[in-house]
């Protein structure tokens, strides 16, 4: 991955053009809607302003290359964990939080360095083994402090924080090392975002039956099914960006994005509902926090990664 390779890659050019085109189109539509009915489109407009930041940042990082992408995604994971720590109260324990921050930075480093024996980019063996080391460090914190009261909750929160936000999301980062990095990364990010938008749109238009009433009152079966339908079709439409995939893998990809996207959304809702908060943060106006934005990616990235890795030699 490099600026020259990005410009040469048909896949990058296609996705960049499509995503930027959609952004401009959505902006025009929203401007018209806003002009006709100001208040109704206010929320959508703020969400759109958020996209105006996210899209250039992600496309820009992927364009710049492997290290820029790793840096951006690591920063996103750090910010996501920070939100998680602030929401759960874990942030008051600076040592526990520092261990997880260090673990997330380690994920980024492991994605960036070469495998010492195979000499391929990205140290895959350590990447997969890292949770064992980070969890070992987390378990050490109460021992070093000689303290037991309340420590199980802190350790559990730190482990969930690292495995869920650091490591599971880290699979997206590790995709930069795939031979078809542009295709995998851009397809996944685009498909998951589209799945979210589809769920929202179908839910708004046809939503009647609540999907999980005690977790997220606004999500509906109609929205989820509509999103699944879109996500099942999308891999076929974008087959050229996953050139080594067979129909079997396209179906699996559709299922992972279509179902995993919803589950990721719901799993953040479970956490938020249990804590009793509405948004995980206020970093992206109109999107809630970073975690509210990347929840579906956290869930789908490792599933997609290991599915692709099972059927294909990624490097």
């Amino acid at each position: 991955m490099s600026p020259a390779a990005a410009l040469e890659s048909e896949i990058f050019r296609f996705y960049a053009a499509t995503i930027l085109g959609l952004l401009v189109l959505a902006g025009l539509v929203l401007l018209i809607v806003r002009w006709r009915a100001r208040a109704a489109a206010d929320h959508a407009w703020r969400a759109y302003l958020g996209w105006l930041v996210i899209v250039p940042a992600v496309l820009g990082a992927i364009f710049l290359g492997r290290l820029a992408t790793i840096a951006l995604l690591t920063l996103v994971a750090l910010a996501g964990f920070k939100e998680f720590a602030r929401a759960t109260g874990l942030y008051r324990d600076w040592l526990m939080t520092s261990v997880v921050y260090a673990g997330i930075v380690a994920i980024g480093i492991v994605c960036a360095v070469d495998d010492p024996t195979l000499l391929t980019p990205g140290w895959y063996g350590l990447f997969v083994a890292l949770p064992a080391f980070v969890i070992a460090a987390i378990l050490m914190v109460p021992i070093v402090r000689n303290r037991a009261t309340g420590q199980l909750q802190l350790m559990a929160l730190a482990i969930v924080g690292f495995v869920y936000i650091g490591w599971m999301f880290g699979h997206l980062t590790f995709l930069v090392n795939a031979r078809n990095a542009y295709g995998y990364l851009l397809f996944l990010v685009f498909a998951v975002a589209l799945n979210d938008v589809a769920a929202f749109t179908f839910g708004r238009l046809f939503g009647r039956r609540p999907l999980r009433s005690s977790i997220s009152p606004h999500k509906t079966w109609e929205g989820a099914c509509g999103a699944l339908a879109v996500s099942m079709v999308l891999p076929w439409a974008l087959w050229f960006s996953l050139p080594d995939f067979t129909p079997r893998e396209l179906i699996l990809t559709g299922l992972i994005v279509g179902i995993g996207g919803q589950l990721g959304d719901l799993s953040i809702s479970v956490i938020k509902r249990d804590i009793g908060i509405k948004d995980t943060g206020a970093l992206l106006r109109g999107h809630g926090g970073i975690l509210d934005r990347i929840d579906s990616l956290i869930y789908t990235a490792p599933l997609f990664f290991h599915m692709a890795g099972y059927f294909h030699d990624m490097q």
């Binding site: 920070k82 602030r86 929401a87 759960t88 109260g89 942030y91 008051r92 600076w94 939080t97 520092s98 921050y101 909750q153 249990d274 804590i275 009793g276 908060i277 509405k278 948004d279 995980t280 943060g281 206020a282 970093l283 106006r285």
Partner: protein
């Protein structure tokens, strides 16, 4: 099994700027990191550019809570006092800063809330509320916070220590909180009000023995008496500072 008790950050749904504006601020590791870096740079700057000298450190109580009361002639004052204390205390030292000046726009807010760890003091409308904010900070024995107050309320422009406002008396009357008088010498000449950038003048800091006012119950007359007493102590330190300066100057010319 009982449900876990979470304690989300109180400022969870606020943006970064709004978070910096509120007080007390929630702990934030990134802010702490930036603050330590700023404090280290500030120390280096003051030592090299202003040849900061600190006298009477032995008068400081071994640990907080306590109050440092100083004259105010320059933006350098708070930086000098913070730099005189141990670097490890940087998150527990709170210089009171004018809310209407420092907590208005982003650059000043970043400087005050991140670099200096300032407490927003509303000197115009809500002095009592600000005083109770200070008291809340100092009531926490375990935290051992240190409050830096400039009871003149504004930077003096003529080199004379102005009258002290009685609010400082309200804070310490009838308590055994140690109050350390402090005179910052030379800061007003190095970076006076209205100048863009400091001149490389020598700055020195003189600390006096701590005082307590447990014997004076809260009341208007007592508050004013305490303010007067503290001003006198600061002015006296200023006189010794000026003498030391003269002696220093003679030493240099000789």
């Amino acid at each position: 099994m009982d449900a876990w008790e979470y304690s989300p950050a109180e400022d969870l749904d606020l943006s970064l700027v709004e978070r910096l504006r509120r007080f007390p601020r929630e702990p934030d590791m990134f802010v702490y990191g930036v603050r330590v870096a700023c404090a280290a740079l500030m120390r280096l700057w003051l030592r090299l550019y202003h040849r900061l000298g600190v006298h009477g450190l032995e008068h400081l109580p071994p640990r907080g809570p306590y109050v440092i009361v100083a004259n105010h002639a320059s933006h350098l004052d708070a930086a000098c006092i913070v730099s005189a204390l141990r670097l490890s205390m940087v998150h527990r030292v709170f210089p009171a800063a004018a809310q209407d000046y420092f907590f208005v726009n982003l650059p000043r807010l970043a400087l005050a809330a991140v670099a200096i760890n300032a407490l927003p003091f509303n000197r115009e409308l809500n002095v009592r509320q600000s005083i109770s904010l200070c008291r809340h900070l100092l009531d926490n024995e375990a935290a051992g916070n240190v409050l830096i107050l400039f009871p003149e309320g504004s930077r003096s422009t003529n080199g004379v220590v102005g009258p002290f406002k009685p609010g400082v008396g309200l804070l310490v009357a009838g308590t055994d909180l140690p109050v350390v008088p402090c005179h910052v010498h030379g800061a007003g000449a190095a970076w006076p009000k209205g100048r863009w950038w400091p001149r490389p003048g020598r700055v020195s800091l003189h600390l006096g023995p701590p005082r307590t006012y447990a014997h004076l119950p809260r009341g208007r007359a007592n508050c004013e008496a305490i303010a007067g007493d503290l001003r006198q102590a600061v002015v006296a330190l200023g006189a010794t500072a000026a003498n030391a300066d003269v002696a220093d100057g003679q030493g240099e010319t000789a």
